[in-house]
């Protein structure tokens, strides 16, 4: 199928001013070197930003019409570009020309430190630096086609390895693009499940190759950049997840009894749980977060695990990094946060994701935070 007609066409005439690597119109920063790209900055959008060629790459067009846009049958929720005023994420005052808030002095976040993607009205997410970490090593890539197909990919760069922010971004984007290009399988649920697991396995391999390529481009450092991987494919009534590391996929059903933790961390924490510790005991242990699988040049086992489920009730596909689930690990805690966000007036997945990230920051924001959501409601026509 690969309905990618409205994706930006790579434009080989456009090169990164920092490293001369080819970039795409609409990119917020260079995939090769991570430099912020002014063109995207100047034409980007305050509330819908993307570092990818994702569907919201249309924000790069200065003439983008304000409000909701119908593009190839998809709804893009865009704030009015023309009236864009960059405001401080702390106090809401305008950002001055020097890049700092005019009132409280807070440094404005770069696109790499905080961005949202809303490829469809029912799919959205936020990737945020958090508070304590100096850089945002998380990355996400979201895309959607029509009202029943979406791909959510989250990669969490390993902080102890320099340049993991580049590995995570390259890995997530490559995997997302590859999954979007897969022809949607037909046939029995089992046949589709099998096809998607194969596709997810291939996408994870591609993501790993991207992370390894970043290490190569850096001259194979002793501590090569590396990252986790989690991807969820929403294909009508099927949700297929694959993961490598401790970034997670959940099915958060509206019905409190119906939620499912799709992924199971590849971490010492999981091993401890398997060994009989309670979740509270295990999560309190400092080695809980030590991951046992990851992507990158020094990965011992970059293969993913899979979990597929059939969706027959309303709810959310939620993909998060540990900067989120550190503060809300049980599916029911996450369900309540989503419920509260909606009750507080958050409309749509991106706003709800922002609300969850704000909650994590309110808890201290000790790590980078990524939250991606896709709404499923089989009862709707």
């Amino acid at each position: 199928m690969s309905n990618v007609s409205d994706r930006d066409v790579p434009d080989s005439d456009v090169l990164c001013p920092a490293c001369a690597a080819p970039i795409h119109v609409g990119d917020a920063f260079c995939e090769a070197c991570g430099s912020t790209l002014d063109a995207a900055r100047s034409s980007g959008d305050a509330t819908v930003e993307t570092p990818t060629l994702g569907a919201s790459g249309t924000t790069a067009q200065p003439a983008a019409q304000p409000g909701a846009q119908e593009l190839g049958g998809r709804t893009h929720l865009l704030a009015p570009s023309a009236a864009r005023v960059e405001v401080c994420h702390v106090c809401g005052a305008p950002i001055a020309d020097d890049g700092f808030c005019s009132q409280c002095g807070q440094r404005a976040r770069t696109r790499r430190e905080h961005w949202t993607e809303t490829p469809a009205a029912w799919v959205g997410g936020v990737c945020d630096k958090g508070i304590v970490h100096a850089r945002n090593e998380d990355a996400m890539a979201l895309d959607a086609a029509g009202d029943d197909f979406a791909v959510l990919v989250v990669c969490d760069g390993v902080t102890t390895a320099p340049d993991s922010d580049r590995a995570s971004l390259a890995a997530s984007k490559a995997a997302c693009a590859q999954l979007m290009a897969v022809a949607r399988p037909t046939g029995s649920f089992a046949a589709r499940l099998t096809a998607w697991q194969a596709a997810l396995g291939a996408a994870c391999a591609t993501a790993n190759a991207e992370a390894v390529a970043v290490a190569r481009s850096l001259g194979d450092p002793r501590e090569p950049p590396s990252c986790t991987f989690v991807a969820a494919v929403v294909d009508h009534d099927l949700v297929a997840a694959a993961w490598c590391g401790d970034s997670r996929a959940y099915w958060i059903a509206d019905d409190p009894a119906g939620s499912v933790e799709l992924s199971l961390d590849h971490s010492l924490g999981t091993e401890m749980l398997a060994a009989g510790f309670t979740r509270e005991q295990a999560e309190a242990d400092p080695t809980f977060h030590t991951i046992t699988r990851w992507l990158g040049a020094d990965s011992i086992d970059p293969t993913p695990e899979f979990r597929t489920m059939a969706v027959d009730a309303p709810g959310w596909v939620l993909v998060v990094s540990d900067g989120m689930w550190n503060y809300a690990s049980p599916a029911d805690d996450l369900r309540r946060l989503i419920e509260e966000a909606a009750a507080d007036g958050a409309t749509g997945p991106t706003q709800i994701a922002e609300s969850l990230a704000a909650f994590a920051n309110g808890c201290g924001g000790h790590d980078n935070i990524t939250v991606a959501l896709a709404r499923r409601d089989p009862q709707l026509p």
Binding site: D98, F100, Q103, C104, G105, R107, I131
Partner: protein, 425 residues
């Protein structure tokens, strides 16, 4: 066109919960050109003390006449100028009637002739002289306005509040460099004037040195091609500007001169600029932010004619890394020491004058130590004329028994002169 450059020296890292940000902002002007070239008209007033004491000895009044003449030689053609003689009142020397003359070959010759004829007699009423100069500058066209004031004595023959009232009226109207000749004048009086009127103060102990000093002073004034610049300071909502102190080439706490221009912005007058560098120590107490945040603690701008010509950003980054937060920036440390040095010298000399030798010995000992540590050789030389250093590392000194009054005054007036920090290559 003059160009300004602003550089920041600071350790921007703050530990969790810390709020105090210190930075040295170095502002450098190049291409200033010369006075009157582009910056409107130039007005100069030379005020010569002609009180009775200037004749005792008569070498003083003779030196003053010669000094006035060389200063007149330095004033550029086309500038507006006047020469005042100050005694119980201020009297026009040139032009004859109250007002300013336009400098030309003719007026220069006439003014020099008139200056060569000033006679001494009467009291020292500096407040009246400042008031007279203010009245002259009020008639001057817009542009750079500068005066030189020479005296040999302390204020007598006018009401105690006269100087303060005159300074209040003069502030912002013109800049004034002050010189004391001999050792019978009062350092604090002239320092009050030079500080309020953004000028310099110095002692000319020997009458024969006066000519060269006036020539240099007027040359400097004529090299100031930027008539009027302001230092603009933005500090974030909820913060307190603790102080803004000029720390090079001399210490001058400019905090009280802050003019609020908007809720978060204050401006400080800095007067005219030549090709020069001035360093400012800025201290701001900011609201605390969580670890991981980066905020501005100050935006420091150099503003001429409401145009921002240079801008520096003072930052605050909260971190849990003690290796980053414990380091004190060398420029901040150096200038904090230099400001302390000026302070202990002035307090030490005041104690000495008051007869409190014990306090004077402690404070001047501290001064000897600070001057030595910071490599301020000029101050060390001046201190050595007032104290015998026993142990410079420990700051132990003995007050000299016989001290020339002029040496003490030189130490006092020059206590604010700082050495620049040696920059890393």
């Amino acid at each position: 066109m003059a160009e300004f450059r602003a550089e920041v020296f600071q350790n921007e890292y703050l530990s969790d919960g810390a709020t105090d940000v210190h930075a040295v902002v170095s502002i450098t002007c190049t291409g200033a050109g010369s006075a009157g070239e582009r910056s409107g008209d130039v007005s100069e007033v030379i005020i010569i003390d002609t009180s009775g004491s200037m004749d005792m000895p008569s070498s003083k009044i003779a030196a003053a006449r010669r000094a006035a003449k060389v200063a007149l030689d330095e004033i550029v053609d086309g500038a507006w100028f006047a020469v005042l003689s100050g005694h119980t009142i201020a009297q026009m020397v040139y032009p004859e009637h109250p007002g300013l003359a336009k400098m030309s070959a003719v007026t220069r010759a006439e003014a020099k002739e008139a200056a060569g004829k000033v006679r001494s007699g009467g009291a020292t009423a500096i407040g009246a002289w400042i008031a007279a100069a203010t009245a002259l500058f009020e008639q001057a066209p817009a542009g750079q306005r500068h005066a030189i004031l020479l005296t040999d004595g302390k204020i007598e023959g006018e009401e105690p509040g006269a100087l303060d009232a005159a300074l209040a009226a003069a502030t912002g109207k013109f800049q004034c460099d002050c010189r004391g000749i001999g050792s019978d004048w009062v350092v604090d009086e002239l320092r009050t004037i030079s500080t309020a009127l953004l000028g310099t103060v110095d002692i000319v102990a020997k009458a024969e040195d006066l000519e060269a000093d006036f020539e240099q002073m007027m040359k400097t004034a004529m090299s100031r091609g930027v008539a009027d610049a302001r230092l603009r300071l933005w500090a974030p909502q909820g913060s307190t500007v603790q102080f803004v102190r000029q720390v090079a080439p001399q210490v001058d706490d400019v905090t009280p001169r802050a003019v609020q221009v908007s809720p978060l912005v204050v401006e400080f007058p800095t007067g005219a600029w030549s090709d020069e560098s001035r360093d400012y120590h800025v201290a701001v107490r900011v609201p605390v932010a969580p670890v991981g945040n980066e905020r501005l603690a100050a935006r420091v701008e150099l503003v001429v004619d409401d145009q921002v010509l240079a801008k520096a950003l003072v930052k605050a980054i909260w971190t849990g890394d003690a290796n980053l937060t414990t380091r004190i920036d060398p420029a901040v440390a150096h200038y904090t020491g230099q400001a302390q040095l000026a302070d202990v010298i002035q307090r030490g000399l005041a104690a000495k004058t008051a007869g409190d030798d014990r306090t004077a010995t402690v404070l001047l000992g501290e001064a000897a130590k600070l001057a030595h540590q910071s490599g301020n050789e000029d101050t060390t030389r001046l201190l050595n004329k007032v104290v015998d250093v026993v142990d410079v590392e420990a700051g132990t000194v003995r007050l000299k028994r016989e001290v020339e009054r002029s040496d003490e005054m030189a130490l006092d007036t020059r206590s604010t002169k700082t050495t620049r920090i040696k920059r890393e290559p």
